[in-house]
Symmetry: C2
Subunit: 442 residues, 2 copies
């Protein structure tokens, strides 16, 4: 990313950068489909009322209105661009409940918009890739485990450094706080959320001032937040704090299942991290956050959790669990750090040269024969000297150029090695690794 | 499309409908890449100034603004959602000219927004798939031929009825009108554009009233508009009208090349249609429109043309030629007319059943082994009776269910035929046609 976006917060990629983004999107889509998730898209706009139901983000929302609104369009006012894919998905589930089979597994890869101050890792227009499972009335807890494993598999297939999926559980936290006599869970979480920023001492002061915690309560709350284990040993460490509460027990058991299964299937990639506070406020059980190891400052690249009621329709409740991958955040970092390379910048594998202007139609026949067998080919722009046409291919990274002699015989040249051989447009193929641009980890 | 969009003009698809849209998008992307076009995306927003440069569409534009704008965001005002992909592409070319190799071939598949009155075939949010070639200073005419052939190939691979690509040429029309003494080309075109709607007689009156044409001029203008040939015979028919003009000759020769080459390579799919007026106003040479045969009322499903100056940067001019496919318009029609079917509504090929709740982890091992070999698999939601689990698969169209016995042996059942056989998760594969949902022409 040598270039700067011409509109701050709205990144655009060059063709070779876009190939890396397409690779990332392809890996995610393939992985989600292998896990049985169906693709859906929702409209870019929601009603402002629906968007703001979750509260506290009104300043970040982009409103949409007809440039020259008249009376006829008054009914349209109150629209805004979606800022995530969860809120639109909840609406989609309610509207289409009669057409969906539950538990419904869906993935959704779309742009979102937030009017926040742009910074590295935080754009105003960005692509999210979400997977969720939503049930009708009930949703077995095991999906909390399954979805964690699906995203670990998806992220693990991307050209990025190692990452850590940090998991916590709202029941565990809330049960623990209640167990030590702190009833205002939201207020405690707001304080704990500042741990990384202001440190334990100042968080302790906050807990005293804003929640009215005493020394013992502060110590226990901070002790809990200090627990982070790559396996199920967090259970014993929480128990050692001597707090008992039914909700706490439920949360401990849920988190034990997620982390235990993950430690077995994806060792080293999932930790129980009881300091995670952000998100606990929205979710009702499991909560996930993901950091790129060594790039913690980038923020979470994949977050989510469990909602007891993702959506409601009359008496019906639709519980859900899901995660959202920050595609633009990940691709920006891949590009700025050079984590990946692409073998060429265009899809074309073969440039069919022109001996003279009259041979254009014949050259199209050759290109057409190659395309018919799945080989991306284009015809040279004009019948310049062959040297110029080869240079044209070279500048784009097109590996092969094709020559047709006046007697109708064909030759193809690998412009990297200089090797040239007789070839038949009906049967010649490039090596498999040259057929399409290949993205590799740098 | 039994369902109605919950917000008029903003269609959303069910998962099985989305599979058909994904098929259409996949066909387009593959065809474009085979022809050497690079994928790019541009941001959804442009400055209002840039969007309105082409004029006359201000009422259709959706403005975007922060919901709670403050002083800090004042600089953001003046943004709007793009209504096509040509205007954003022109900006992208100018901004990135130093990083692109010309002639630059790009495809771009994105949502666009227009605040028009919704009707069948006209949504407020819709996906366009554009291909363009843009040159630096010059762009050989042959790209006008090549792009027509590329879209004919792309559209021909879609599950839609036969279509006709209608081609005209601005130079031909303008030269002809000048040749008969009508200098106000734009005004003549505005009248001719109404031919289909109001008929020849009323267009004649318009030409008299608004352009000041005499009987002879009216007759010639209408004669020209009446010419429509599936081959190059239009040339003789125009010449038979006895009008001479240099620009007319240039236009005749260009159109002859497009239609001649197309008649040879895609017989019956391209016609020279000299009644096409809409578009001539914007473009400077070739103009394309495409109708689905028998569905002319739907409007054009693919339009475009040649710009002598798609973009300018100081003294530099970037000529371009391109076409834009109306994906949402096409997909809506495929769905409403049942032109295509999909073999199932979910990606999953195999449902791994649960003998009891304790076997969940073992079932995940089976699913994981299948996925590792590219077979989409999911594990049943809960250990209900096998009959219920099979019904769960059946409702989704999942063709295979997997059973693991207590002794660790495996069997897989094709729930359509009822056939059940021993199977090994490390080697069993479904028939190729059952691996993924297959979209077929109905």
């Amino acid at each position: 990313m040598a270039r700067k976006a011409s509109l701050s917060g709205f990144p655009e990629w060059l063709p070779e950068e876009r190939l890396i983004e397409l690779h990332v999107l392809g890996v995610l889509q393939r992985t989600f489909e292998l896990h049985g998730f169906s693709s859906i898209e929702t409209r870019a706009v929601e009603t402002v009322d629906h968007l703001l139901r979750k509260g506290e983000i009104d300043k970040e929302v982009y409103a949409v209105s007809r440039l020259q609104a008249d009376e006829a369009s008054a009914s349209e006012s109150g629209l805004a661009l979606h800022y995530d894919l969860t809120v639109p998905f909840a609406r989609y589930v309610v509207e289409n409940a009669g057409y969906l089979a539950f538990p419904f597994r869906r993935f959704q890869i779309q742009k979102c918009w937030r009017g926040e101050r742009p910074q590295e890792g935080r754009a105003r227009e960005f692509t999210q890739a979400d997977i969720d499972v939503v049930g009708d009335g009930v949703l077995p807890f095991r999906y909390d485990v399954e979805l964690a494993l699906a995203v670990v598999e998806a992220l693990g297939a991307l050209p990025i450094p190692d990452f850590t999926l940090r998991v916590n559980n709202r029941k565990l936290a809330e049960g623990f706080y209640r167990g030590i006599g702190l009833a205002d869970t939201a207020a405690v979480l707001r304080s704990i959320d500042k741990l990384e920023k202001i440190g334990a001492e100042k968080v302790g002061l906050l807990l005293r001032d804003e929640v009215g915690a005493d020394d013992h309560q502060v110590r226990l709350a901070l002790d809990l937040a200090g627990i982070c284990t790559p396996d199920t040993s967090f259970v014993e460490r929480v128990r050692a704090l001597g707090v008992t509460n039914d909700l706490l027990e439920e949360g401990l058991e849920e988190l034990r299942q997620v982390v235990g299964e993950a430690a077995r299937r994806a060792p080293g990639r999932v930790v129980a991290d009881l300091s995670i506070a952000r998100g606990l406020d929205y979710y009702t059980g499991t909560v996930y956050e993901t950091v790129l190891n060594g790039h913690e400052g980038l923020g979470s690249i994949c977050s989510g959790g469990r909602y007891d009621a993702l959506a409601r329709k009359g008496n019906r409740t639709f519980p859900g669990v899901g995660l959202s991958i920050g595609v633009t955040r990940i691709v920006s970092r891949i590009l700025s750090q050079g984590f990946a390379t692409v073998s060429r910048s265009v899809p074309t594998a073969v440039l069919v040269t022109l001996a003279d202007d009259e041979s254009w139609s014949q050259a199209q026949d050759v290109a057409s024969a190659l395309r018919g067998r799945g080989i991306p080919a284009e015809v040279a722009a004009s019948a310049e000297k062959f040297g110029k046409q080869i240079k044209f291919a070279d500048r784009r990274g097109i590996p092969f150029v094709w020559f047709t002699a006046q007697d109708g015989s064909h030759e193809v040249k690998d412009i990297r090695s200089g090797d040239q051989e007789a070839a038949d447009p009906a049967s010649w193929s490039p090596p498999a690794e040259d057929l399409h641009p290949v993205v590799a980890t740098a």
